[in-house]
């Protein structure tokens, strides 16, 4: 059997598009981590809620797809802010990081993810819901056909990253967010409303997750259990790129996507979901700081 370069190219292309989605979710996780020093374990469920919001807006309300995407992002952002205000505030105020409160935050996020998944199950049921978006004929590259939803995903993802980068680097609000991420006490002394910025970080991260959910909807179907695997893969992406580094999250997402698709194609498709974990564990063991990360904080 001779080696088929065009199918290899196709695998890499599909890996890239799915990787971009991983990258967006990883971006949110990284944002929360760099801002609050906590890892949000319920992020996969926010992503799942975002996908369902997108589905509801586009199928039941009947708005066009881009508008549904925007609405889903806003809804999930509000959901994230509410969750943070009601549940996490007590813990984030105690200080995140690697203290006992950090462990509490991990357990709390874990519990919250189960709660959110159960709520979604009670509302929408366990069936996988197809997400119909008619975008027209797929693009043709030689003998590979790329559905337009994939192309749209890549473009949207790049746009979102650029927008986030612009927000963080060029606007005054973004400067405030970065100040809070750097040092909350000093930011507070500089007259920045720290609790508001923390809510903003959470809202932004959740909106990104919702965008990823709505973008991936037309490629796969939307179902209640989609969040958990996505969380793991986004974690893998965030870790591979370097936890807390925003460009790293994207690069990590692309790497995880390609790695996973190539593994599924050339090793064994039924083990597809393990490759991301393997990459995660490999990177954690060899270079915990990831590709772009600052030094992983390991005491002693």
């Amino acid at each position: 059997m001779d080696f088929d370069f065009s199918s290899l190219f196709a695998f890499i292309l599909f890996g890239l598009t799915i990787g971009v989605v991983y990258g967006i979710v990883a971006l949110g996780i990284s944002l929360i981590y760099s801002g609050l020093d906590i890892v949000h374990f319920a992020h996969g469920e926010i992503y799942m809620f975002g996908a369902f919001f997108g589905l509801v807006f586009s199928e039941q309300v009947g708005v066009p797809y881009p508008l549904a995407l925007l609405s889903a992002m806003i809804c999930a952002g509000v959901l994230g802010i509410v969750i943070e205000r009601v549940f996490y505030r007590r813990l984030t105020r105690a200080g995140g990081g690697y203290t006992v409160a950090g462990m509490g935050m991990i357990i709390c996020g874990f519990g919250m993810s189960v709660v959110l998944q159960n709520i979604a199950f009670l509302i929408w049921g366990a069936d996988a819901e197809p997400f119909h978006v008619d975008l027209g004929e797929p693009y043709q590259f030689g003998d590979i056909s790329l559905p337009k939803s994939y192309a749209l995903t890549a473009v949207m993802a790049l746009f979102l990253m650029a927008a986030l980068h612009f927000f963080l680097v060029r606007t005054k609000l973004g400067l405030a967010v970065r100040a809070v991420a750097h040092n909350k006490d000093i930011a507070f002394l500089m007259g920045i409303n720290v609790p508001l910025m923390i809510s903003l970080i959470f809202g932004l991260a959740c909106a990104l997750a919702a965008a990823a959910g709505t973008l991936i909807g037309p490629m796969q179907s939307v179902q209640v259990e989609m969040g958990y695997l996505m969380l793991m893969k986004a974690f893998a992406a965030a870790v591979v790129g370097g936890f807390g580094s925003l460009p790293g999250a994207i690069v990590g997402g692309l790497l995880v996507g390609i790695f996973e698709n190539l593994g599924a194609a050339y090793i064994s498709p039924s083990h597809k979901d393990i490759y991301a974990f393997l990459l995660l564990i490999l990177v954690l063991m060899i270079k915990p700081s990831g590709l772009f990360g600052v030094e992983a904080r390991v005491k002693a």
Partner: protein
């Protein structure tokens, strides 16, 4: 508080007197008291409650093991169910395919889980907190997916007909009989956990939990002790898994090792109070019973468990163990003020 004192004081005094005879005496007494439990349960209710008692025993073993790495050593691990699964599957495979009796397959299952514990623990040498949680969660979930997709490990059908153990003609083939095995293992497990806590090793674990740098300055080999904590807890998990696999229906399926089991396990530890052995035991008992009694509300269970976990972490971070500790510490201070030192152990 006075009512509680009236109830607890004779009990603690009795335990104190018994311990004076021999330190194992209270343990033996409790063990002998718990032995006829299945007859009481099946007499009062029915066999199902004996099965429930068996489940509680398995979960107590798991919780006690998890408490060693999480409570004593302060390492956040979420992949514990993976080790439980490894213990169950390896013991089942050895007895199914090699025809080995339980007394051979059980130690093999425990050992394999221990080796897996080294692998799960290796990231802890370099990682902390959230990173470690991620790595262990990834490993635990990989184990479940491996079991779910590999036919040898009983992919979608599960492993059927795992033989039940026997000793000299006495076959542990019903829930009542299997209970003897489980209660023995559980009592030994709890006792060993206390011995570890009181030994130099346990103190090293706690030193690492409180301050890693200070511990290393005091000459504690931090990576070695972290790994040791992981291995010990993996041995517990492997024992629980192997005991679960050989329990009379002799059937395991990868659905026994899902994230929901992990959530229940975490809830037990959190409810009991992280790092409190008796709290963990009480947590395991309470959660297993609640889990069982709410089976008819199956669809709302994750909501209940997850929410109670969140609320516990928010409002009662030290769990039941915190309440127990506070009671005894208060008693001790009152005793000291009155110029006598009874009551508190």
């Amino acid at each position: 508080m006075t009512v509680a004192t009236a109830i607890v004081r004779p009990f603690t005094q009795a335990v104190g007197k018994l311990s004076a005879v021999h330190r194992l005496a209270p343990w033996l007494l409790v063990y002998l008291l718990l032995l006829p439990l299945p007859y009481v349960l099946s007499g009062l209710f029915n066999d199902y409650y004996v099965y429930l008692a068996n489940r509680i025993c398995i979960f107590i073993l798991l919780t006690v093991g998890l408490n060693i790495v999480k409570g004593f050593c302060g390492q956040v691990t979420i992949g514990h169910v993976g080790l439980y699964a490894i213990g169950a599957v390896s013991s089942a495979l050895v007895s199914l395919h090699l025809g080995a009796p339980f007394w051979v397959s059980f130690p093999i299952g425990v050992l394999v889980a221990g080796v897996a514990g080294i692998i799960v623990g290796l990231p802890s040498v370099r990682l902390e907190g959230a990173y470690l949680a991620l790595a262990t969660l990834g490993l635990g979930e990989s184990v479940r997916i491996m079991i779910a997709v590999t036919p040898l490990f009983g992919s979608s059908t599960g492993l059927i007909g795992i033989p039940t153990p026997e000793i000299g003609g006495f076959v542990f083939d019903s829930f009542e009989r299997y209970y003897y095995l489980l209660i023995t293992a559980t009592m030994i497990g709890i006792y060993l956990s206390f011995s570890i806590l009181r030994s130099a090793t346990g103190r090293a674990f706690m030193a690492i939990r409180e301050d890693t740098i200070a511990a290393s300055v005091h000459g504690i080999n931090v990576p070695q002790y972290k790994l040791l904590a992981f291995v010990i807890s993996a041995l517990y998990a492997g024992a629980a898994g192997a005991l679960f696999a050989h329990m009379p229906p002799g059937y395991i399926h990868h659905n026994n090792f899902t994230i929901i089991e992990m959530v229940t396990l975490l809830l037990m530890v959190v409810l009991g109070g992280i790092g409190h052995i008796w709290g963990g035991v009480i947590g395991a008992i309470i959660v297993t019973i609640i889990y069982d009694q709410t089976l008819e509300f199956y669809f709302y269970q994750p909501l209940l468990f997850g929410l109670s976990m969140v609320i516990l972490v928010m409002f009662m971070p030290r769990g039941i163990g915190g309440v127990i500790d506070r009671y005894f510490v208060t008693r001790r201070f009152i005793g000291a003020r009155e110029g006598k030192t009874d009551g508190a152990p």
